[in-house]
């Protein structure tokens, strides 16, 4: 038996079975990874580290399961992921800058205290990301060039200058195509 995955209720005599961590990962891993990605991107401008964050969350759960019974595992895992992503982002920032973390450099408050708004913003980004399959349907509304720019710039991270060269247009034209494409997608998703 894995004692760290089993625990007893507060009363001591009521056995509480914790879900298998592998099952939890299969059910919620995708959303956790996207949550970590959203925090790292929006709060720290980082485009990697999401898998490291989620791995750290599960490593911690293996070593030290929650003391209380968890009634909503998805909410719990997302919240822990958000916090760990903040921690990870801060560590990377310190490594990069070679200095201590200064929250004033960022738009939002530190994670420990008044961060509900920051969490809500990240949750909104993740919820929106969950609608991207729908968004891909919306891509059909775009012109060929708009679709090309959105796909290559947003999904493939291609630079504006490179796309300008590929399409034979000016870099500002690439920006215009992206803006018009994003506007159509916003209308399609009904987020305006």
């Amino acid at each position: 038996m894995q004692p760290h995955e089993r625990r007893r209720g507060a009363g001591g005599d009521c056995a509480v079975t914790m879900p298998n961590l592998g099952v939890l990962y299969m059910e919620h891993g995708q959303k956790m990874i996207r949550t970590a990605a959203a925090v790292l991107l929006r709060k720290f401008g980082l485009t990697d580290g999401d898998l490291d964050v989620v791995q750290e969350v599960f490593r911690e759960l293996q070593e030290k399961p929650p003391a209380e019974e968890i009634r909503n595992w998805e909410a719990y895992l997302i919240r822990v992921t958000q916090r760990r992503a903040y921690d990870w982002g801060r560590k990377q920032h310190v490594k990069k800058q070679g200095q201590s973390f200064n929250d004033d450099e960022f738009d939002d408050e530190p994670v420990d205290d008044a961060s509900e708004e920051a969490f809500a913003e990240v949750e909104a980004a993740v919820d929106l990301a969950a609608r991207i399959p729908e968004l891909l349907d919306g891509m059909q509304l775009l012109t060929e060039n708009e679709r090309f720019v959105i796909t290559r710039q947003v999904f493939d991270d291609a630079s504006r200058d490179r796309l300008a060269e590929e399409l034979g247009v000016s870099p500002p034209r690439i920006s215009q195509l992206r803006t018009s494409g994003l506007k159509k997608l916003r209308t399609y998703l009904g987020t305006e």
């Binding site: 038996m1 894995q2 004692p3 760290h4 079975t17 879900p19 298998n20 961590l21 592998g22 099952v23 939890l24 990962y25 299969m26 059910e27 891993g29 995708q30 990874i33 996207r34 990605a37 959203a38 991107l41 929006r42 709060k43 401008g45 999401d50 898998l51 989620v54 791995q55 599960f58 490593r59 070593e63 030290k64 450099e105 960022f106 738009d107 980004a125 993740v126 929106l128 990301a129 969950a130 609608r131 991207i132 399959p133 968004l135 959105i150 947003v154 999904f155 504006r160 500002p172 920006s175 215009q176 992206r178 803006t179 994003l182 506007k183 997608l185 916003r186 998703l189 987020t191 305006e192």
Partner: protein
Amino acid sequence: MNEEQKAGLLDRLIAMPVQRTQLLDEAGATADERTELLELADIADAAWVSTRGAPPVEEDPIAAMLGIAPTPGLAIDPAAFKQARVRSGLNVSQLRDRLAQRGWQVSNGEIASWQSREGIELLPALLQDIGDALSVSADSFTVTRVSDAPTIHTILRKSDWFVALVEQWQTLRHVARSVAEAQLLTRATATVHRGEEPDVDQIRELLEHLVASSGESGSSRQ
């Protein structure tokens, strides 16, 4: 702000998500322009976030760590499993319910097939939970079919250092030997990129680090 200026500003907002407020302030954006540009940046962020996700399970280090990456060759032994279940006093439905408590959705029919069909391969984490439910080691009802083909799994299984690491991992993680071996094998496989020759020294270094760091984190809390 004209449309070209807005498009240029949107470029910068997307490229520098942390500095959005500052960029909008510097550009002197109006409230309406702010709202519009931030909404568009949100769409771009969401599109990017949607591209993030777990790698294929056989390359996923988290799946390997949690024992949910398939391990070719690790199968249930029908007769031994049935014997263990009967000895435990659990009928098929009771075992199904125990597994459901751990989140596994298996049917009575599936459990029955584990008792009757050879070669059914199950996830290491599920095997461990079956063993826990039956109060026996998963080793007692699993078989490992070792292929003669020189795969990375067969190379590792024949290595003394790997066998020693499996024993350590088994102790550290309180799992059956077969499960410990499966977890380390899938972890090793996750480091090998498709089409590339596996580097055994590199795998050894990674697994030794994994086991050592797990041991350290366990002892540091005591």
